[in-house]
Subunit: 355 residues, 4 copies
Amino acid sequence: MNFGSDNQTGASQRVLEMLNTANAGVSHGYGDDSWSNQAVEAVKELFGCDLKAYFVATGTAANCLALSSMVNPWETILCHSHAHIFVDESTAPEHFTGGARMLGISQGEGKITPIHLDNYFRNVGMHLPHNPIAKVLSMTQTSEAGLVYGIDEIQQLCTSAKKHDLLVHMDGARFSNAIASLKCHPAEITWKAGVDVLCLGATKCGALCAEVVIFFNQDLARDFEHRRKRSGHLLSKGRLFGAQILGWLKDDHWLELATHANNQATKLTERLMAINDIRLAWPVEANELFIAMPTGLMEELLASGAEFYDWYPDVLPPGMTLNKDESFVRLVTSFATHDDELVNFCDRIEKYCNS
Amino acid sequence: MNFGSDNQTGASQRVLEMLNTANAGVSHGYGDDSWSNQAVEAVKELFGCDLKAYFVATGTAANCLALSSMVNPWETILCHSHAHIFVDESTAPEHFTGGARMLGISQGEGKITPIHLDNYFRNVGMHLPHNPIAKVLSMTQTSEAGLVYGIDEIQQLCTSAKKHDLLVHMDGARFSNAIASLKCHPAEITWKAGVDVLCLGATKCGALCAEVVIFFNQDLARDFEHRRKRSGHLLSKGRLFGAQILGWLKDDHWLELATHANNQATKLTERLMAINDIRLAWPVEANELFIAMPTGLMEELLASGAEFYDWYPDVLPPGMTLNKDESFVRLVTSFATHDDELVNFCDRIEKYCNS
Amino acid sequence: MNFGSDNQTGASQRVLEMLNTANAGVSHGYGDDSWSNQAVEAVKELFGCDLKAYFVATGTAANCLALSSMVNPWETILCHSHAHIFVDESTAPEHFTGGARMLGISQGEGKITPIHLDNYFRNVGMHLPHNPIAKVLSMTQTSEAGLVYGIDEIQQLCTSAKKHDLLVHMDGARFSNAIASLKCHPAEITWKAGVDVLCLGATKCGALCAEVVIFFNQDLARDFEHRRKRSGHLLSKGRLFGAQILGWLKDDHWLELATHANNQATKLTERLMAINDIRLAWPVEANELFIAMPTGLMEELLASGAEFYDWYPDVLPPGMTLNKDESFVRLVTSFATHDDELVNFCDRIEKYCNS
Amino acid sequence: MNFGSDNQTGASQRVLEMLNTANAGVSHGYGDDSWSNQAVEAVKELFGCDLKAYFVATGTAANCLALSSMVNPWETILCHSHAHIFVDESTAPEHFTGGARMLGISQGEGKITPIHLDNYFRNVGMHLPHNPIAKVLSMTQTSEAGLVYGIDEIQQLCTSAKKHDLLVHMDGARFSNAIASLKCHPAEITWKAGVDVLCLGATKCGALCAEVVIFFNQDLARDFEHRRKRSGHLLSKGRLFGAQILGWLKDDHWLELATHANNQATKLTERLMAINDIRLAWPVEANELFIAMPTGLMEELLASGAEFYDWYPDVLPPGMTLNKDESFVRLVTSFATHDDELVNFCDRIEKYCNS
């Protein structure tokens, strides 16, 4: 009964096999190997365009290296007030960018919108060199509330960003879950919609440690190799990444994994919504559920070995408040979530709530 | 008719004279001179306690060197959303602190309060090493809305800060105006109330370029001399600062200057409030007025050579909105503001509004 | 015929197997898992003392995170002028330390000695805050010339370092090769000799990507988790490291691998030294050979698919210069170097030189 | 008898008068005032070319802001091993540049030469992104040994620098003394010779605190105003700088001051060289003397109130060593050095040595 996070599983079997295969023999270090090169080609094919792609081991590194390529140290990065890079990555963005400003500009709502941007720019000072002027909009797909931005929403957001002279960064830690949900081509919610740089996460959906920083706006990649090296993120045995990404992308394996995770979330939602005393905070559009449940139930579940986290109260939707004996928790399904985990988990909840 | 800023005047005559006196003869460099030493003693006497005091040339340097002494790079500095260090100093705080996080946690209201702190801590994650945990509260006296925090308010704010394990920094760019307004002992709104570090600004109230970083919490000063040197803020001819501060503090000259500036603001307010079509945004408690005036009037005044700035709309108080043909401006009086400037300025406004 | 670098092989079979085993099932993220915990215990057992150990994916990250824990940004790190962290890691040390100074203080000789330290301190200014005073000595075991520091040498160097108030960092990218050479207990050349922090490299000797930052001086580890997180080096699936290190340390597998690499270097040396026109630059004490060979031979070997690098001329020993048609190259053997590679490589060289 | 440093005097009378004049009245802040604008024009006229010029209060800030405009954080700045920015400014260059590498490449000799550059580039690795490749040569005029680079020397050094793709920075803390010595046009040893950026120091030669960062290569100035602001070096009352520089440049006042300082050094040298037991370390070409004197004499002079510093032993010329009872000291003359100070000082020395 593990709903703690999609990073608590290992690699998928097929990713692991590719890694085992790639381990044999010698190859050049630092990403100059056939596995890495093939993986870059596979990324290009996936998005149907030319691009620059680089591999790193963590989402923090991917996002922050990307952002540091987009912003000067005297500029500002705008994001949702719940953005993972804003609240959960220490001050890594400041570290990598040499001290650019991080600013959350939306609250309450589950997604950032052009209205947030317009409001921000209506009030902010733009006098140089005094005001740290915004240069980048960072959005998260799937969002921190588990919501999926639709094609139109992304297009509108990117249009608004460009109007305000912002570059667009997408934190795609759960990008695959979004594609599994939207059932669209990856190009539609990235470069065709106006995204400049995507951090495509594989770790949460089947890899062991593999994230891809993808520059659709290739000019921005100019200094990337320097930045990756001096932050210690250039692996000597680069095939580790090449093999994972190849195995992950091959035959739409990634999409299969993401679809499974989403489907399990849907099933979980259906069961839970039928139970009194369980309240859903946000629509479930990918593989995360945010729910309010009786605190006694939460404690019983955790005591029985179930894994999940109580969650930041400010992720509650506007207008929703917790009752006195209620707790707010996040449930995450993954490519490895079994039906019997779901059933077992929901049975316990039903039993508690009906008793 | 200069109401642009209190940094558009030169030094006061007595400050300038002390500088001229100190210029003669030789003395050791880098602050190891009798003028600097006497000035440090004068600061101790002013606050009635032992302390560490250091001089720098700008408010940006003073505030940021102070903050960098109080926070680790993986921690957060909380402040009012309008705080000068947050919106008007580029990303200097990030630069000096090695990339700590700046976070504005209050909006609308003219002052930051314990309620803002409590709200913040109720929602924020405190999981290490993921969340960038808050370590410092920075407040501004006089505030960015021209308001003066009372003794009680500062005590309560510091008590709340300590409860949340925060150190307290005070940006005192207009500290002298606050003392002139409160008519209290400087100790009462600083170390006795719980302030750890004060940046005492002299530049806006009579000096040419002199700010004092005062550590009441002397442990925090441990690395200050390193930080000042490597950021290029250790002047070789240190007597420049020593002389200014001595001249400024001697015989309560600083208080005389601040009182004059405040009095002129009071007079200006009295005249303006009697005029229809002029609306005051915030009570005038020191030497700044924030007012809404007809846009046509604003343009006529500026065209006639009056100096003042239109101001950030988000500094409007909650509930106050501008009418269609109205503009929001800031007026600042200084130690050098003459009565005839006031009269002339108000006459023109009356004439416009009555015509 | 791969003598390019010991990072051009994959993982050893036993390391890979442990990784496959660990992949199954769920476990907590971010290093809070049984594999990681067991690996930390195995490291303690290896060194026979209490210590703090942390895992990262690259040697750059390991060394630079270690150094950033040992030095203030206004201090200096002393090292050999050929030190890998000084010449081959971009400006990563400056990045991680927030801008501390890197200084190479020895040249020519293959090892750094107390004499270099004494010379340095005899001439350097120690006036604060002007001079960036040295705080750390970083040494590399096995050295950049392929030499192994003996127990006595390390003791003397550490004693000298302490005399000058320096902490001691050891870059142990090829620490295992040094132990295989010295046949001593790992404690003898680390904490017992006075080393404060060791970066133990597994990647070059059998792991895929696993380095251990080991704090014998545990006070220095105080902020390590913050530093690792905000530099993006905290992996979510921490068992990746735990499994590798466990597999690597178990049953002295690491030592077996290192011994093989060293033995192959010895065999290679014996064959090559019997050949006219091949000149050895430094004694071969671990798994690296630095040799001068005819440029024509070098080109023929590379053309035939052999892998090795021409090397920085300043690594030549004092007094040794290249002849007109001679090139300077580095040959590295690894745990995977086969006898037939050696034989094949040497046969070609003999054939060329004897023709 | 003050020979401690040329920063132990105040401002010259004419500089101080201009400052007093400029203090009157109101003017815009942040360098947007007529004094600053006139000073920029005066700088252009001095060098006879178009350029960008910015004012700051300290040499550290001037040099480091200049360097940060010339180098990426993953690149290296080459300089003389005795360079002031390398040994006497803490780690300010690393701080301002975001962690670029500082590297001293010459030792022993009093000046850096093309031979040092050629040697450096002959041995250094140039593999990206591993090696931190050199991007800037920083030279000091007058040098740290008190030597003046001739027009030819600077031309040759700049030519060599360009050959190696280096930009050229000149630390001109004592630039005026060099011009007074060479009696050439300032253009000849700067932009006409190939210098990209000059930091022109006025503080050591008559100003109170005023340094000018001059970009002959104007492209490099692109981000300067951002860098100056976020490092706290943008003064609000900018006329402080404008007035000083205007007063300093007007009617060749600066050259008059520098010439006086140099002449006093010449006189001092002539007297001292006639005395047994006093040995000159370097030719005196500007306003600094480096001499070996009996330790007993040094102690007696200091005890009698004379001011000067004992100096870094590595500034001794190659081949010159101190005798057992000898000390190495630096004597500096300034625009304010009186004849009677010289006479008095030399009389005491003669008396000691002849007794």
